[in-house]
Symmetry: C2
Subunit: 443 residues, 2 copies
């Protein structure tokens, strides 16, 4: 990694929690380390929009006092966390990556932030998002593109690009993101960290600015899958099951969804360690893509109709152009897409019904593209970067299935990710499969 | 009534059931009476598209044999019934009122028809519908307009216009209809009979050609409210509650929804006999109308997209023009409308929360307009006929609430209807309120 990694690179939340309780470090020291790293790496990576030094130090001192008094809030107690700038933190600016919200400061925490605070976490600041989270490239934001720690001229991925960069660079051990078509998993994969998008609705989205209400998921990014699970258990209404048993993982051939860099596919396949192979039936990949596009277009245009009519010039030009196209999608296609979504759920259910708990595939079919790149050669053909980035992640938003990305290795010194997908209620098997995949990751 | 009413005018299903069991009449005789009346009144009213003499007589003979053997299927046993031509009856043509389905004969019964048969009912034939049920005027159908028995130059109302005319003229004692914005209640009101649209989903819509999937309801038309209840109990998955108690009915001022013929409003108000008055909050009427229009437009265009693209010339010109407009409604407006629908449900819930079980209002703000009339003067202003017909019924489709229409009297020799609305689960109170309103009706 060309940038000198921050203090949390290679550290797990469980390690840090042990250190805290053994008195080897204080929450205040952890917060200071995070703040210093954010200051040092900020210009190079543009991971943070807002850093809240005062608030973080105060929360950390409270965490230390509580621990000293024997009040232990669990694994996130005292842990520095970054929060995507689409998620409301009371008293901190929330720009949504847009000039439309310049100067906006919410006065209430999002539900997931309330959970973080209840778990004793220390909020370090707000991480850069693609404008209104409407893009997987992470390079169109009012405060500039977030950059990849493995090569700052390349995309961190989006839309939770700042969270991906901040965790990968070791500025924080954990960050919140949102994932509507892959916006947690894409930056996790491109930056070489773990990212978890739970089942639809499993983490409440109240206080999160919407992108596409039936596709939006709140998720987490961390160095290791097990840290995502710790955070998820704090953030979700229902605790994941504990008892594992044998996990049966099948490799889902990504060719049914997108062309793929064969080196990325090969790394993911090895990491998955799954002997069985399943395939999507002919045409299902195209149907999933169409369904995703239509649903997202209509729901996103519904969020922004007044801004689009009243102040179009405040949008980034690319975001504006996409919104204009989205606003033209006729309603009957949305109605059809919602029906198709139900049918597709049945098709994918059959893949699981074949005796598999987890499907494994690459997270993203390529490594991090250059910033502002919009076309890329992939497996011999030219493809649109946005479509390629979303191709393997968005199906699981359409279907609301839990999906986890873990590092699978490096291709030309850039990370590639393995993605694991399960049915709601089988999250424990998903994390068990990740442990089995078990590579130490690229750091 | 200018036409000489058929044999079932003024007869109730309970009366007929008693006669059958006392041996005063046979099911075969009832079927023959219905068939003769259909033949005699057919040309004048255009109530039926298809009459199934052979099938009806065979079913009636079976019903007689079963009764003779002591196998009694309940109140609909041996009862002649008309079925709207949008509802599949195996082996009978189903035109949906459209040239698109000329010659189409389904081979499976709709779920509600299966229920009718299980209850021993005798299907006499298929009743005229507005083309694809897409219109409350009942006067645009491949087999011509259905006509009002009270004045055949006037609308029967739609889209279940044939069912309304057939019951009002006494051709059958009972008929099935569908109701997406009022298509059971509007013809019931304009023809002076009772019509019940149950809660959304209470009668399964499998095998019913869709108009707008989240607004479509299967309903029943009969001479009296209590016959609607008997039929409903046979058709619904759950039986309505029995125990009544005191019903608290409030008059819902229709002025919040539409201009109204004051004579129609006065008749309905007297029939309701409700001392309390409630009003929709400012602006809610317009929001209900907009929500209905957007949802129906998008869902209807989704049903017909291929026909609209491939064979537009087979549609009635007015239906075609409306479909073209509907297909242009953007998806973001549908998304907004579905959100608004949830909010409006809360607004109307507050009217009930004020201690009322049933809301009473006119069914339709005017009496039957002339066939093909598209504008009418109402309370001093010119209004569009379609909008006026739907104004008081469509809100209860948007919200999925049970709604019943009963005759309230005559204005200039044309029927006016009282409408009663309740929350799902309070159907027994709705029918109790109707009994209390208890006028014998205009026949």
């Amino acid at each position: 990694m060309p940038v000198t990694p921050g203090p949390f690179a290679g550290r797990t939340v469980s390690d840090l929690a042990l250190d805290l309780r053994a008195g080897r470090v204080t929450a205040a020291e952890l917060a200071r380390l995070a703040l210093e790293a954010a200051a040092r790496l900020g210009p190079a990576l543009n991971a943070f929009v807002t850093v809240d030094a005062e608030g973080a130090l105060e929360a950390a001192r409270t965490a230390d006092r509580e621990l000293a008094e024997g009040a232990d809030r669990g694994p996130l107690h005292g842990m520095p966390v970054g929060v995507k700038d689409l998620i409301m933190v009371a008293g901190l600016p929330a720009t949504m990556g847009s000039r439309h919200f310049a100067g906006y400061v919410p006065d209430t925490d999002a539900a997931c932030v309330t959970r973080l605070r209840e778990a004793g976490a220390v909020i370090v600041g707000k991480t850069t998002t693609h404008e209104f989270a409407y893009g997987p490239t992470g390079d169109r934001s009012a405060n500039g593109p977030s950059r990849n720690p493995w090569d700052p001229e390349r995309m961190s991925g989006g839309s939770s690009g700042g969270s991906g960069a901040a965790v990968a660079a070791g500025i924080v051990p954990l960050a919140l993101g949102t994932d509507t078509g892959g916006s947690v998993r894409i930056p996790a994969a491109l930056c070489g960290v773990a990212g978890f998008k739970p089942a639809y609705g499993a983490i409440r989205a109240d206080g999160v600015f919407p992108l596409s209400v039936t596709l939006d998921h709140v998720g987490v990014l961390a160095g290791r899958a097990e840290d995502c699970l710790l955070a998820y258990a704090c953030l979700a209404d229902e605790r994941p099951a504990q008892d594992g048993g044998e996990v049966r993982t099948a490799w889902l051939d990504p060719a049914g969804l997108t062309p793929c860099d064969p080196r990325v596919a090969a790394l993911a396949r090895v990491a998955a360690g799954a002997p069985d192979v399943v395939e999507l039936p002919e045409g299902v990949g195209a149907r999933l893509r169409e369904t995703y596009t239509v649903i997202q277009s209509c729901e996103t245009a519904a969020v922004h109709a007044e801004r689009l009519a009243g102040a179009p010039g405040l949008f980034d030009p690319e975001v504006l152009e996409r919104l204009r196209v989205a606003a033209e999608v006729p309603g009957w296609r949305y109605v059809r897409a919602m029906e198709e979504r139900r049918r597709l759920g049945g098709v994918v259910a059959e893949l699981f019904d074949g005796g598999h708990d987890v499907l494994a595939l690459p997270a993203v079919p390529l490594t991090a593209p250059r910033l502002q790149g919009r076309e890329v050669v992939l497996d011999g053909g030219t493809v649109a970067v946005r479509a390629a980035l979303l191709a393997l992640t968005s199906p699981w938003n359409v279907l609301g299935l839990p999906a986890l990305t873990v590092p699978a290795g490096l291709v030309d010194d850039l990370p590639a990710g393995l993605q694991l997908v399960c049915r709601p209620g089988s999250e424990h098997l998903l994390f068990q499969a990740a442990e089995k995949a078990g590579r130490p990751g690229p750091r």
